[in-house]
């Protein structure tokens, strides 16, 4: 087969592996070749696992040849953000403090992927302890955006975004506490799913904020993220945040999913800081959905501006509690920026933390009421496209905006509220940088949300557009 296997989505590759037209060993080699060629520049990997991948691919090939096909992930390499525990494999969490940490067991998500026949091809770049939305890392250097290597890729699942967009891996796991799956997905032009809080176990995943951390999936399409989601979702008694709630199943991916759907666009907050190029691409995407039969409705959510302050207080308080002892004894081993972010949490009184948790509930109550007459929400994923790696601020329509605010202000809302959200590519600016469309569902309507995203991708080509190779 002469086709470059790294262009194929899992939904295309899996049937070829199943019918033995494609060997899992060839798949592994194709991706290892790209990592070898491009990762010295892109820096998506903290730890490469070439030999491990080759060995697992051979095992998969033997199993499939023997008639033991396990399903669509059998023989598929996966990249893991370097905070998923992997038995016997270094797991740094993007920190120098954890550079020697070798877990004794796999995280639940990794266990489930292994059982499905997938394997880890490498541990991916991330910002230190997942506490930043850029793709910078004080210890391991920056991950670079494959659309323009002088630009940031977004974070904190930066390596996951870069590796999928540059076809170094077909799919990757990340985590999302304020937007860390959807932001790199948006800036790198790929699909990023953050499911409803509690649907994917965080057992064996380094915590940042226990009441806001989500495991998410970054892939070449909504369908690919759904394949992985269906394998790793489910209750896990080892994760106190894991939920029993069944998902509402609408798994159709036809245009009928969009036709008749009511999609709400929030009036408040989102548009106060928004690059005009991003807004223009977003509006084209909305017009497209309207042309497919969706009804677009402006909705008012008065408490929307309260969500992010509450989320920031909760996240920082919990991160500070988790890191307190280590930062007091080893402060110099933290990135100075991350150190200060954690130390700022020492100034938050318990009453403010608890008020912030209650504000989350109050906002969730209001947003539930606001969504009574709509099925989904739509926003741009980020207020800007990728910007230079060394910039702490970005110019948005003539105003200087802090990089965290520019990157996270929209995604953080739905992490704080635990709602399912997906970022899908919806076009490019004149500078040829991808723009993400964020679709948000009601809690536990993850499959319905995936159905909507898949249906959008049936009639668009944005998710099939990859950056040109560096050579």
């Amino acid at each position: 087969m002469n086709q470059d296997l790294t262009f194929l989505r899992i939904s295309e590759l899996a049937p070829l592996i199943r019918n033995k037209s494609v060997s899992p060993v060839d798949v592994a080699e194709a991706y290892i070749n790209r990592i070898e060629k491009f990762d010295p520049t892109l820096n998506a990997f903290i730890t490469r696992l070439d030999d491990h991948a080759r060995s697992r691919a051979k095992t998969a090939e033997s199993e499939i040849t023997s008639g033991l096909y396990k399903g669509p992930l059998h023989g598929i390499p996966i990249g893991l953000k370097d905070l998923f525990y992997t038995k016997g494999i270094k797991t740094t969490s993007g920190s120098i403090l954890e550079k020697g940490f070798i877990p004794r067991e796999d995280s639940t998500a990794v266990t489930k992927l292994n059982e499905a026949g997938a394997y880890c091809i490498g541990k991916l770049h991330m910002t230190e302890f997942a506490f930043d939305g850029t793709s910078r890392n004080h210890h391991y250097g920056p991950a670079r955006n494959p659309w323009n290597i002088s630009l940031m890729a977004g974070g904190s699942s930066s390596g996951s975004g870069v590796a999928v967009a540059s076809r170094e891996v077909p799919i990757a796991l990340g985590t999302d506490t304020g937007g860390s799956v959807r932001v790199p997905a948006s800036l790198c032009g790929i699909t990023g799913l953050k499911p409803t809080f509690g649907l994917i176990s965080r057992y064996g995943v380094t915590a940042l904020s226990w009441s806001m951390d989500h495991v998410g999936i970054l892939g070449k399409s909504a369908e690919d993220t759904e394949i992985v989601f269906n394998h790793i979702a489910g209750h896990d008694h080892k994760d106190p945040g894991s939920v029993h709630q069944p998902q509402i199943a609408i798994t159709d991916s036809s245009l009928d999913v969009i036709n008749g759907m009511r999609i709400g666009i929030p009036k408040e907050f989102i548009w106060e800081i928004m690059d005009s190029n991003v807004k223009s691409v977003f509006q084209q995407a909305i017009l497209h959905m309207e042309s497919l039969g969706a009804e677009i409705v402006e909705i008012s959510i008065a408490k929307l501006p309260m969500v992010n302050p509450a989320g920031s207080i909760v996240q920082t308080s919990e991160a500070s509690a988790l890191h307190r002892n280590r930062i007091l004894s080893n402060a110099d081993q933290y990135d100075p920026v991350i150190r200060r972010r954690i130390e700022s949490g020492f100034f938050i009184p318990a009453t403010s933390y608890l008020q912030a948790q209650r504000v989350r509930y109050a906002c969730m109550e209001e947003i539930s009421k606001s969504m009574t007459n709509v099925d989904f929400l739509a926003t741009p994923t980020t207020a800007v496209t990728a910007f230079p790696l060394d910039k702490d601020t970005v110019d948005i329509n003539g105003n200087e905006v802090g990089s965290r605010e520019a990157l996270l202000r929209i995604t953080r809302i739905f992490s704080t509220l635990g709602m399912p959200a997906i970022s899908i590519p919806c076009g490019f600016t004149k500078a040829n940088l991808p723009v993400g469309l964020q679709l948000v569902g009601k809690p536990f309507y993850d499959n319905a949300l995936l159905g909507l995203a898949k249906s959008y991708q049936l009639t668009t080509e944005w998710h099939k557009t990859f950056p040109q190779d560096l050579d």
């Binding site: 939920v243 309260m306 100075p336 700022s344 309507y445």
Partner: protein
């Protein structure tokens, strides 16, 4: 809304009390605006009406829409 009136002196006293290294002046000078920003966020949410909200755990933050 209350005013944010944290002075640098009070900030230093609090930093020392919570165990932050107060000999690292560069870190403290950069930390101070971060703390002020965090105080601003606290002030923003202080007045949100939450009297009727009783916390148990975050696990029940989300309700199955079919049961509402």
């Amino acid at each position: 809304m209350r005013e944010n009136n944290l002075s640098y002196e009070l900030f230093l006293q609090t930093a020392q009390r919570v165990g932050i290294d107060i000999n690292n002046r560069e870190n403290l000078q950069l930390l101070f605006p971060e703390v002020l920003a965090m105080l601003e966020r606290m002030l923003i949410i202080d007045d949100v009406y939450t009297t009727d909200i009783h916390l148990s755990s975050n696990v029940d933050l989300l309700q199955d829409p079919r049961s509402q």
